[in-house]
């Protein structure tokens, strides 16, 4: 059957693309739109490396079909920084060495940003449970939690 023709908004830009029914949003982002910041770690929703925002909701893009996002808004890691200015989360990840290999970092930044938008003053426990869907094998999560908390402080200061 013919491919789907989809129009959507990605990181604030109008985009259009063609996709097969079975192509996931992650496939579309990486292979069609060349936005390789979202990563495939498992393709089964168990690692969070593909996290994006869909109409303001944190989701795994490997669990969304490309043809489902017609008319909708997708926000990826590539849209987190504003021009040359890093988001406080990105800055704090760097300051606190909250990344080692960095493959999980885009997912954590997107998920962490979603948390802080919903809960500007999360406890350690709330941070850990919110981020339980983001696997990290390098850091043991310690510095990630520190970075998220510090970013929350920075954002509350405004």
């Amino acid at each position: 059957m013919a491919k789907h023709h989809i129009e959507a908004t990605v990181n604030g830009d109008a985009v259009e693309f063609l996709c097969e029914t079975e192509d996931t949003l992650l496939d579309v982002l990486r292979d069609t739109l060349q936005l390789t910041g979202s990563k495939e770690g498992c393709a089964s929703g168990d690692c969070g490396a593909c996290s994006v925002m869909l109409d303001g909701r944190l989701v795994c893009s490997c669990l969304v079909l490309g043809c489902e996002v017609g008319g909708r808004r997708v926000d990826t890691i590539e849209g987190v920084a504003k021009g040359q200015t890093l988001h406080p989360l990105q800055q704090k990840f760097l300051e606190h060495a909250a990344l080692q290999c960095g493959i999980c970092t885009p997912g954590f930044i997107v998920a962490g940003k979603a948390l802080l938008e919903q809960n500007p003053n999360p406890t350690d426990t709330e941070i850990r449970y919110w981020l339980a869907g983001n696997l990290c094998r390098c850091t043991g999560y310690d510095k990630i939690v520190t970075a998220v908390k510090d970013a929350a402080v920075a954002m509350r200061k405004g």
Binding site: T36, G41, S44, C101, C104, P106, R137, G140
Partner: protein, 766 residues
Amino acid sequence: MAENGTNGTNGTNGQGYVGTRTIRPDGVDKVTGRARFGADFNLPGQLIGRVLRSPHPHARIVRIDTSKAEALPGVKAVITRDDFGDQPSEFIPAGEMMMNYKDVVRNVMAREKALYEGHAVAAVAAISAAVARRALKLIDVQYEVLPHVIDVVEAMRPDAPVLHDDLFTAGVEPKPDKPSNIAKRVEIAVGDVEAGFKKADVIVEREFKTAPVHQGYIEPHAALASVSEDGSTELWCCTQGHFIVRAHCARLLGMDIAKIRVTASEIGGGFGGKTVVYLEPLAIALSRKAKRPVKMVMSREEVFKASGPTSGATVRVKMGATKDGKFVAGFGELKYQAGAFQGSPVQPGVFCAYAPYDMENVKVIGYDVVSNRPKVAAYRAPGAPISEFAVESVVDEIAKKLGLDPIDLRMMNAAREGTKAAYGPKFGPIGLEQTLNSIKKTEHWNMPLRKWQGRGVASGFWFNIGGETCASLTINEDGTVSLMAGTPDVGGLRAALTSVAADELGIPYEKVRPIIGDTGSLGFTFLTGGSRSAFSGSMAIVEAAKQIKAELCARAAKLWEAKPDQIEFKDGHVRPLGALAEKVKPMSIADFAKIAGKTGGPIGGYGRINAQGAGPSLGTHLVDLEVDPETGRVTILRYTVAQDAGKALHPAYVEGQFQGGAVQGIGWALNEEYIYGADGKLQNAGFLDYRMPVASDVPMIDAIVVEVPNPKHPYGVRGVGETPIVPPLGAIANAMENATGIRFTELPMSPPKVLKALKERGLNKV
């Protein structure tokens, strides 16, 4: 020339970036998604490659018919064992393990037999992933299914199905005349353990069992190969060692090494699992045949089924001590499962078992055993976590039997400078005692514990390696510096090397920009592993900086018409000394850079070394946990790591190694394992049921960086990456015993096992 060297143990002559928490130069790209990992590269016209894998754990491959796949429109190449020449048997050291190309070529593409479920049998390159998947289904493989064997003890039995009929146990006398699954026997022995046991007031003997666990890197293997008509090849892949990948591919494909240029992408985790080749030779072979670039990426299921986890093992340990706590004898028998081809890390397991302790009488025997599972690959201190788990558990039992504090007991027997290890070398300065003392001084050590909570401590050892390493420093026309390192950066290396370069040259950190050079840009550099990349890389940078400083001083001598003893390099400048200082002013690196062309040409230094003098890193871990007696579920409450880094070039990334290794150890101890059915097939080939710790599973991991400088390194550095995974298994088992009174000897200590043990003793009530 006046002394201008820098000695890390006496401080540096630069601004002092080493030892501070600089922002890593590659960091911005990583937090914005710009950094390119293995699967992030694409080439115009590329094909997608996929691998056909054996559904059987053990089968003779009778016939492979690829004709239907080749005829499918969109398929541009199909390869099988026929596309790879056979390799003669030859053992080659590969970092901390040994390898044999005869096995490598068979692991990359099965030849006579499929030896594990997931073993590569054929591969295709097609215009899309969908066509490639369809093509795989059209490949007709005729298998003769054979009985399989999975468990290591089962595989050692004389009547077990034999995997290789040309495998005869090495290291036993008389030489066996029947092939078996026992590839080799190794042994170390010092003193007389039998005599030692006779001196003991207390003897503890236990048998332990561990399951295979995977390194669990979040990034699956990925490679993109492009072969030109003249055979020159470009390969991008995520690897811990691109020079090793180049060597393997050249060998397997019969190519000149110079004809292959490998670029290491950013790597999303390796931990030893990306020190070998899987997709790379296949991608090159397909590209060569298809005459187009071929991109291959493993699925998560393929990663679990077809890339090497570490060994599962059965370990017996027997230790004797006097009533004062002196260890008088240590015996161990380790049976490690190697997977489908020989080469488990049983030898390092044997070497490390008792290495933290100064003991007169030690005998450790190890067996390397093949079975129908994926060939094991290195996993962070390969072999040591298993053997040291056993020893640290028994040490804990001895402490309890003697009524001694477990830290005091270890202190009493701790290896120190001058101790001769059972596996051979005499130790230089090492920091085990300091880590034990650090742990004892923590608040953690004194925190009160409630019922069903327990505390455990364990120490750990890993030797670390140096090895061939190249790095270059180039002075650019504006005085900024380009740094090129040869070891892929798995987690902060570029930050550490940049600090070293900046301090050596006395220039600001921001003026040094590091990259990881491809294989065409540097001499052979051994892989990132063995905790060597910061240790060796910084040595090579020091060498490169030395050359630059010498060159600048020589140019100044010409310029100033001065003698070498009137000139020194200090704080980023060439400086005139004595009377000369009244005649000429100091010149910075940037000053020389401006006139480089006129004074002899571009300025640079190239460190090409075989780094020696790697010092062992020892650590001690402390863990508090709580057991839910009604369910067997374990919660880690508190965790502290103290480990000797020699000199922490970048403290935050050193702490990160401690924390990451500890959490991998927590997963290994409590929940991670390969689960096989009776059919020899892996049941949990995904992150859902291969249960690695998530953020809510662990607390903060307190990291204490101990620094006992390594005198053989200009800054005192010891590798730190591997030791952190060694103590957690023992520490957690010891904490479980403290919480429940039960000694668990089988990993993982998952809830069904824990509950069963509690219930058997009537303890499963709050």
